[in-house]
């Protein structure tokens, strides 16, 4: 069954990739979608079995066997994997279904579904990996899929640039992963998780000499591996690709750049907890980076105007939460937030997609407004998503996010204190920018009326104005041509249910008292790590603080964007420096452009023009245009067709060979 879960998406991908044209659009969409639903169903079954205490390991076949390096293809199902299986296949299946509606007008559907299914396969490979190499295979696989999907609309220059940026920035991280993997092999002489984890405690104190200092090997390895996680999960310094990745179709953003791929880094750290637990320095670094990312992304998210970019920064920020939770040793809490986040963030993205769909691919929230009457279902579900992310009690985000903030409170060291203050601040900001989005999009004046390409058409507008009095006429509104089709609304609906309930249902298992039973051996806690126990006992004010922050954020947003619409502009003017700083994303892109991109391009241009063009091409041209044809011509002349010429050549050869042998 485990094998089926992983390989059904691959089969779907191959079918619609290679036979898409022959199958026709409908089948090319529904076959991968259907297979994914089967895969998702199996995942839930495996999840249930795993809860019942069954771990499994399916060995497929030996991959590499070279000297000491022995690597198998193996699928591993333990609680950690099972959680990810459920998240990945469920969200992916829903996104597949959603895409049927969303991509209805796209000419290359088969390609899209093929990529999407391939991504799912690679992601499943990553989470079921039994060793570093297979994990890296999945890691690179999702990278490729992400690259292909970001650049899916390859006729758009910006999409191409974004896909390249995503790939290159990820390469930086992957390089860290690779180095970490080399380090693991150098130290443990194995890449198998079980072998490495079992041997980890012995190496807790061993060091090596690097430049002028003694470095602990595990610290170095974990640090390098975390660089990989930073790239994939868009953490501070390597985050620049994620907002640009929004150039891809919205379902892609929901699946890859919100719910699954970007969380791979978190999964990796939890999976590798037996290593990280012995590397407190690396963990502190993880905490610091995570908290900084959360703060940074939230501040930038405050002022963005592109609906998808706002959610992208929100993702970035939530990933920061997960990382510092993991960095503080509360891996189950990080995984729990990952789990709930997958639901409400996919919900927000798909909802945003629905908005974009309704607005004919307009993404600027300044050009929206008052939409709640036109797409009421989407509106309701978006609000639920927003409530979930901001952490309204009893919704899913409340359980996981508050737990993270409490973890930060009880965590040890200055990074924990830093994380705690940041997390409170960010909670308010999250609430602010999320509500800002809702207010700008769904409330307020209908700015789009003034659009040169007015929408909806006047007739329909009249129609809608007429319906104004009938607020709850859902049946009536569904008839409205601009609410999204059912294939899009159903997945959003399912995710809405998930966003509401996932927290309440799973919180006791994931992070409650039974957490050890739930995770069993898949997550390791060092002897001094009691954070999972401690965070249940925090002062009352800590428990209330996130809620207060959320309400504060909401009120600020409400004041600025609903009650006093003139204030934001004034505020931006009065704090112009800060505003431009945030609007330009802390100048990261510009700095990287100046520091890395420009010099790299200059170097590339030099090597291309002078090195390749003048030197190598010159030599090759000379060889291929002059020398090669000359030799070929000579040979052709020798091939005269006369037997005596041939015989002469043979005798010549005999003379040479005999001469060579004798002399």
């Amino acid at each position: 069954m485990l094998t089926a879960i992983v390989f059904l998406p691959l089969i779907g991908s191959l079918i619609s990739g290679f036979f898409g044209k022959r199958l026709g659009e409908t089948l090319a969409q529904w076959i991968p979608t259907g297979l994914l639903f089967v895969s998702a169903l199996f995942s839930w079954i495996v999840f249930a079995q795993t809860l019942g205490g069954e771990d499994r390991l399916v060995r497929l076949f030996t991959w590499i066997s070279s000297g000491e390096l022995q690597t198998d293809w193996a699928l591993r199902a333990d609680p950690l994997t099972a959680v990810m299986l459920v998240v990945v296949t469920t969200v992916s299946a829903l996104v597949h279904l959603y895409s049927v509606g969303y991509m209805a007008e796209d000419p290359s559907k088969a390609r899209f579904f093929s990529y999407l299914s391939f991504f799912t396969f690679a992601m499943l490979m990553l989470v079921t990996a039994d060793n570093f190499l297979q994990m890296f295979f999945g890691w690179e696989g999702v990278g490729v899929a992400s690259y292909l999907l970001i650049g899916f609309w390859h006729q758009k220059d910006s999409a191409n640039a974004a896909s390249m940026k995503a790939f290159i920035v990820n390469r930086v991280g992957d390089f860290g992963f690779l180095l970490g993997m080399f380090g693991v092999f150098a130290v443990f002489r194995s890449l198998d998780f079980d072998t490495v984890f079992a041997a980890a405690p012995q190496y807790a104190e061993s060091t090596f000499h690097f430049l002028w200092m003694e470095v602990k090997v595990l610290e170095a390895i974990c640090f390098l591996l975390f660089i990989g996680a930073m790239g994939k999960s868009a953490q501070f310094f390597l985050h620049t690709w994620l907002p640009d990745a929004m150039e891809g179709p919205t379902p892609v953003s929901a699946l890859i750049h919100a719910a699954t791929m970007v969380t791979a880094g978190v999964v990796m750290i939890c999976r590798l907890s037996p290593l990280f637990e012995w590397a407190p320095g690396a963990l502190a670094f993880v905490t610091f980076i995570g908290a900084t990312t959360a703060l940074f992304a939230a501040t930038v998210g405050l002022v963005q105007n592109d609906i998808k970019r706002i959610i992208a920064y929100s993702t970035c920020s939530q990933l920061g939460y997960m990382f510092f939770a993991a960095g503080l040793g509360a891996y189950p809490v990080a995984m729990f937030h990952l789990f709930t986040h997958a639901f409400f963030k996919a919900l927000l993205f798909l909802g945003a997609g629905s908005v974009i769909h309704a607005m004919h691919h307009e993404q600027d929230i300044r050009k929206m407004g008052g939409l709640w009457r036109y797409i009421p279902l989407t509106f309701v579900m978006m609000v639920v998503g927003t409530l979930a992310i901001t952490g309204l009690p009893l919704l899913s985000g409340f359980y996981s996010k508050d737990a993270i903030i409490e973890v930060a409170f009880v965590g040890k060291g200055w990074t924990a204190q830093y994380a705690f203050f940041v997390s409170l601040l960010v909670a308010a900001m999250t609430s602010f920018y999320s509500w800002r989005l809702i207010f700008k999009v769904f409330f307020g004046p209908r700015v789009w009326k003034d659009d040169p390409d007015p929408y909806p058409t006047p007739v329909e507008e009249a129609h809608d104005d007429h319906a104004h009095g009938d607020d709850h006429g859902h049946g009536h509104h569904e008839l409205h041509p601009h609410e999204s089709p059912k294939t899009m609304l159903i997945p959003i609906g399912v995710l809405t249910v998930g966003a509401i309930l996932a927290g309440a249902i799973f919180a006791p298992g994931f992070i409650g008292d039974g957490y050890e039973e739930f995770w069993r051996g898949s997550i390791f806690f060092g002897p001094n790590n009691h954070v999972m126990h401690d965070f249940h006992y925090v002062p009352l004010w800590v428990k209330f603080a996130p809620f207060m922050m959320m309400v504060t954020g909401f009120f600020i947003a409400w004041t600025l964007y609903e009650r006093r619409r003139d204030l934001p502009a004034k505020l931006a003017r009065s704090q112009e420096a800060l505003y431009t700083f945030f609007l330009n994303r802390w100048w990261f892109d510009q700095a990287y452009d100046f520091l890395f991109v420009k010099p790299a391009q200059a170097l590339g241009r030099f090597l291309w023009k002078k090195g390749d063009g003048a030197t190598i091409d010159g030599a090759i041209d000379g060889a291929s245009m002059k020398i090669a044809p000359a030799i070929a011509g000579l040979l052709r002349r020798a091939q005269s067709g006369y037997v005596f010429h041939y015989a002469f050549a043979m005798i010549l050869g005999v003379v040479v060979l005999v001469g060579l042998a004798v002399v």
Binding site: R636, V643, A649, V654, L660, A661, V662
Partner: protein, 500 residues
């Protein structure tokens, strides 16, 4: 002094099969044309063709049976008073040669019928040639080596000129015969030197006598003998500078026969070379390494550069054959166990790949006429994607692009040469590989990016299947290699270890 016929059973099967087909052909032949009334002639011609087809399938069956027998059932050992040996090497070579011969024969059914060259003699000649190949691979003294070689060559001469009413085919056959006779003379001359200076025709004795200490040289006469024999075998392998017949014969002979030349005949010649140099002269590796290295270098360069200016696909494949033999020789020049196994592996991979390409060439006909210019491939991808993809895979495999089979063939050969310290040869090999990649990939370019030419006549299913199978072989080889590397290694240890 024992016959030990069991060890030679595969050859016996082929001999009996050849005789049986001959008898069948004679007994079932319709009356000669001049005795028939005009009205009976078409019926007689039809009967003759049907007989020929039966003979062909019978021969295919016999070849497969012989291959199975050689592979599984024949006990290893020596026969005919040490003149004949069945060990890992001969097993490997026989299975490969017989199976490729069977494949070439089976594939040729349709085309030979179209060319009106399908006669039962054709089947007999192929079986006899295969018998000669088996003997070459199993020879353990100079006489049986020569007899096997000559049996094979005589059959091949006639095969090349099978269409005796076709000027090109007869010219090709005659050229091949004259030059072949010259090379046989060289080989015999060399053999007589070897006998004269070692006092024996038996390979085991020769091996013992030629064992030289490091830093010493063999006597000059023996060296002349060795190099002359290398020349003779080089001709059969179509190694440069003994390659000149190859393009003319490939082009002149009927296509299926060219395919047979390029596959089974090359495997047998390589096996004979290994048998002689690693068996008989196995203790004097340092003495002949340079000879093979020069042959290898010359072949790779001629194969690479010669193909650049070709416009005909068959001539292109002829040069490709020369070049590939050069790469195989690069490995075989090593003089180590690795050299043997890499050579054996190379030849089989090459044979399968080239047979796949030939299978497609059989069907490259427009309106019943062959269309064999490279430009005829133009735009194949748009007319027949599956074939274009398969051919593309085969071309990339021939060019040695990973992860296709051809890459591993080259990899093992280069590894063998490198560990034997033949660095300079590798430089040439890599250069030649680059040059040859150009013309293989040019075919791919023509197929995929040029404006489509007219469609070919529909291809028989068998030929398509062969193309797909060869492409699948070169694609899947990366996983386990079908056990071929292990089999080649076993063959190598059998030979280096002094025989079965």
């Amino acid at each position: 002094m024992s016959l030990n016929l069991a060890a030679a059973a595969p050859e016996l099967i082929l001999a009996v099969a050849a005789l049986a087909i001959l008898m069948f052909g004679v007994l079932r032949a319709p009356a000669p044309a001049y005795l028939l009334a005009a009205g009976d002639k078409p019926a007689a011609a039809l009967a003759e063709r049907r007989n020929a087809a039966w003979a062909l399938w019978f021969a295919v069956g016999a070849l497969i049976l012989a291959a199975l027998w050689a592979g599984f059932w024949a006990p290893a050992g020596r026969a005919f008073s040490d003149a004949f040996i069945l060990d890992g090497l001969s097993r490997y070579a026989k299975v490969a040669a017989f199976l490729t011969a069977a494949a070439a024969l089976a594939l040729s059914r349709d085309l030979m019928g179209r060319l009106e060259a399908l006669s039962y003699e054709y089947a007999v000649l192929v079986v006899l040639a295969a018998l000669g190949m088996g003997m070459m691979a199993s020879a353990n003294d100079l006489i049986s080596l020569y007899i096997g070689l000559e049996l094979q060559s005589l059959a091949l001469y006639v095969l090349a000129a099978l269409r005796r009413d076709d000027a090109r085919a007869t010219e090709a056959g005659l050229k091949y015969f004259v030059l072949g006779a010259l090379s046989s003379g060289l080989l015999l001359f060399g053999a007589s030197f070897v006998y004269g200076y070692t006092g024996s025709i038996n390979f085991d004795v020769i091996r013992a006598v030629t064992a030289v200490e490091e830093g010493h040289n063999l006597s000059v006469g023996l060296l002349i003998g060795i190099s002359l024999m290398a020349c003779g075998i080089g001709f059969k392998l179509s190694a440069a500078p003994f390659h000149m017949w190859t393009p003319d014969v490939y082009q002149g002979a009927p296509l299926p026969i060219a395919a047979f030349f390029a596959s089974a005949a090359k495997i047998a010649a390589a096996a004979m070379l290994l048998r002689l140099f690693y068996g008989a002269f196995g203790e004097a590796t340092s003495q002949w390494r340079d000879i093979l290295a020069v042959l290898a270098a010359a072949s790779m360069l001629v194969g690479g550069f010669g193909a650049l200016v070709q416009t005909n696909v068959v001539r292109l494949l002829a040069y490709s054959s020369i070049g590939n033999v050069g790469f195989a020789l690069t490995g075989m020049a090593a003089g180590t166990a690795q050299g043997i196994s890499s050579g054996l592996l190379y030849m089989v991979i090459y044979a399968v790949t080239t047979l796949g390409v030939f299978a497609f060439l059989f069907g490259m006909r427009r309106g019943g006429k062959p269309a064999l210019a490279i430009s005829d491939f133009a735009g194949l991808a748009r007319r027949d994607m599956a074939s274009a993809l398969c051919l593309g895979a085969l071309m990339f495999s021939l060019a040695g692009v990973p992860p296709l089979a051809g890459f591993f063939a080259k990899l093992y050969a280069f590894q063998a040469a490198w560990t034997a310290g033949l660095g300079y040869l590798l430089v040439i090999a890599v250069l030649a590989a680059v040059v040859s990649a150009f013309y293989y990939i040019r075919v791919v370019k023509v197929m995929f990016f040029d404006e489509p030419a007219e469609a070919f006549d529909p291809q028989p299913f068998g030929q398509r299947l062969a193309l797909y199978a060869a492409a699948a072989f070169s694609l899947i080889f990366v996983i386990g290699g079908f056990g071929l590397p292990e089999a080649a290694q076993r063959a190598a240890t059998a030979l280096i270890g002094g025989g079965a």
